[in-house]
């Protein structure tokens, strides 16, 4: 049984970490980009961002004034039990979100879409989102918070099998260029692409590809992994850099996730996780241990399974 107080306390720490500490994988990626960048203005921007991450950590202040829209991805082992059950868990995550909004402080971004009511705590109808995943073994809970920023850089399109890879490339370039101009997408970013599923799941796949996979990670399907490499290079060959200035770096990495779709279609979504790639993760064990990390490790063999039954021995044999 995992203590609900420990979950709330851990969640509050995660809110703080996500807002303030740039994850190491993204930081390394941006440092590599800064080394290759030769556009005057885009170089200046990348250097300023590197200084900014340092200032945020030193001062313990949010790295960006737009602290995004906090959300939770929760993953549990098959044997995990939470004190008070799922209702208590959701209440604890909502409390942690509200407390940290005031405590860090974060920007109270969340408002009612029509009445613009602001509770000043990032909690409201459907906010924060809480999404769930499960794994076959274990008695732990993974708390993952992502505070994705930005109103730009995300798009969806219904493509068809006849559009092929060249159609996918076209929409990818359209999305990068449209939202890269003037730096609306806050690039260079981790770009997530969702392919297939239905319209909603396609968006979910692309968003998770951007937010729940780290720089350097590759899809286990070697052909998709090759596409990820190709798309990263393609994005960086546009000639556009940070803020839409002339430069070489738009894409810190490109992650692609797929889901089975309608036989007639080929849904595609593109998501840009901005220069402040806010994500933080903790695993809380039944014995009270808490381990912090920045890799969500969301996309496991189990999450990507394509069979009816789950046969762990199959995964072990691979």
């Amino acid at each position: 049984m995992i203590s609900i107080d420990l979950i709330q306390k851990t969640a509050e720490t995660l809110m703080d970490k996500a807002a303030i500490e740039i994850p190491d994988d993204y930081l390394s990626g941006l440092k590599s980009a800064a080394k290759t960048e030769d556009g005057d203005l885009s170089s200046f921007v990348l250097q300023a961002m590197l200084e900014n991450y340092q200032a945020a950590k030193e001062d313990r202040r949010a790295m960006c004034g737009d602290t995004g829209t906090p959300r939770w991805y929760v993953k549990m082992g098959n044997k995990t039990q939470i004190e008070g059950g799922p209702i208590a868990l959701e209440a604890a995550l909502r409390r942690a979100t509200a407390n940290a909004t005031n405590g860090v402080p974060l920007r109270p971004n969340r408002v009612h879409p029509l009445w613009r009511t602001d509770h000043n705590n990032n909690v409201g109808i459907g906010a924060p989102e809480i999404e769930y995943g499960y794994e076959p073994g274990g008695e732990w809970i993974d708390l993952i918070t992502v505070h994705k920023g930005g109103l730009f850089g995300t798009d969806y399109r219904m493509l068809f099998p006849s559009d092929g890879i060249q159609g996918i490339k076209r929409f990818y370039l359209d999305s990068l260029v449209a939202f890269g101009k003037r730096g609306l997408a806050c690039q260079p970013a981790i770009i997530g692409i969702g392919l297939g599923g239905c319209k909603d799941t396609c968006m979910v796949l692309g968003k998770r590809a951007a937010c729940l996979r780290v720089v350097g990670d590759r899809n286990p399907d070697p052909k998709i992994a090759a596409l990820e490499d190709e798309f990263k290079e393609l994005g960086n060959s546009i000639g556009m850099g940070a803020m839409g200035f002339v430069g070489k770096n738009m894409v810190i990495d490109c992650n692609i996730e797929v889901g089975y779709c309608h036989t007639g279609g080929m849904q595609m979504s593109v998501h840009a996780f901005c220069l402040s790639s806010r994500r933080a993760v903790a695993r809380v064990h039944a014995d009270g241990r808490v381990e912090y990390r920045t890799d969500p490790e969301w996309f496991t063999d189990y999450q990507r399974r394509d069979t009816i039954e789950w046969h762990p021995e199959m995964a072990a044999a691979e």
């Binding site: 005057d40 961002m49 001062d59 960006c64 004034g65 402080p105 000043n120 559009d163 806050c186």
Partner: protein, 222 residues
């Protein structure tokens, strides 16, 4: 080419404005205030009295919602500040600039050269862009003091009018000049020359979107 750094008052002289060049890096001293759609609607559409003396106290309008909280004792805790995209405010800006004498519009992404020529230049105003985006922690370090917050009950913390005393707050980038030139459009024009090569071999989608264009010099704003 190395970038040029400039320190600028938030109540700048016409000479100081005229001296700014596209791409200059600016650090600000003095009072600035945040105002975006909430403030514009309240001041311009609902005709509420603006709770500051403008432009004598400040001629610098920041398109910003800070990551900030008001403590129980009434004090302010402002951590990071960055800008929000400005193009959405073109509806109110001409009237706002005329009414308040704003000389520095500070935000994200700039406006179009048409906006600059139509109502920035005639009012002696320029656009400063935040950097990144966004260098929230660096800009936060430039806050000497939060002087006041207005209309937080009516508009909420994110849309309220925050009055900030800055000390070498920056960096910002000069994104327009007194001829109405636009830094972002200048960069777009260079980049678009390369786009046909990058797109080579790709295919337009079989299902069109109504109103879609393949003109790659287009922008999604304005």
């Amino acid at each position: 080419m190395k970038v040029r750094e400039v320190r600028l008052s938030t109540t700048p002289t016409p000479e100081a404005i005229a001296d700014l060049r596209l791409g200059d890096i600016v650090y600000l001293d003095g009072l600035l205030y945040t105002a975006r759609e909430g403030v514009y609607m309240r001041a311009l559409e609902e005709q509420a009295n603006i709770p500051m003396e403008l432009p004598s106290q400040s001629a610098a309008n920041f398109h910003c919602s800070p990551a900030a909280a008001i403590r129980e004792d009434g004090s302010f805790d402002m951590g990071a500040v960055t800008a929000t995209a400005s193009f959405r405010f073109a509806k109110w800006l001409p009237e706002w600039i005329a009414k308040t004498g704003a000389k520095l519009i500070i935000g994200k992404g700039g406006m179009s050269s048409r906006d600059y020529k139509e109502y920035f230049v005639p009012n002696g105003a320029v656009y400063l862009s935040t950097v990144g985006y966004g260098t929230g922690a660096l800009l936060g370090r430039g806050i000497e003091k939060v002087e006041a917050v207005h209309w937080q009950d009516e508009l909420g913390l994110a849309q309220a009018m925050w009055v900030i005393r800055c000390n070498r707050m920056g960096p910002f980038i000069v994104a327009s000049d007194m001829e109405g030139n636009c830094l972002f459009e200048r960069e777009n024009a260079k980049i678009v020359q390369n786009l046909d090569r990058v797109y080579e071999g790709t295919r337009p989608a079989v299902l069109k979107r109504y109103g879609e264009t393949d003109d790659r010099s287009d922008e999604v704003i304005g």
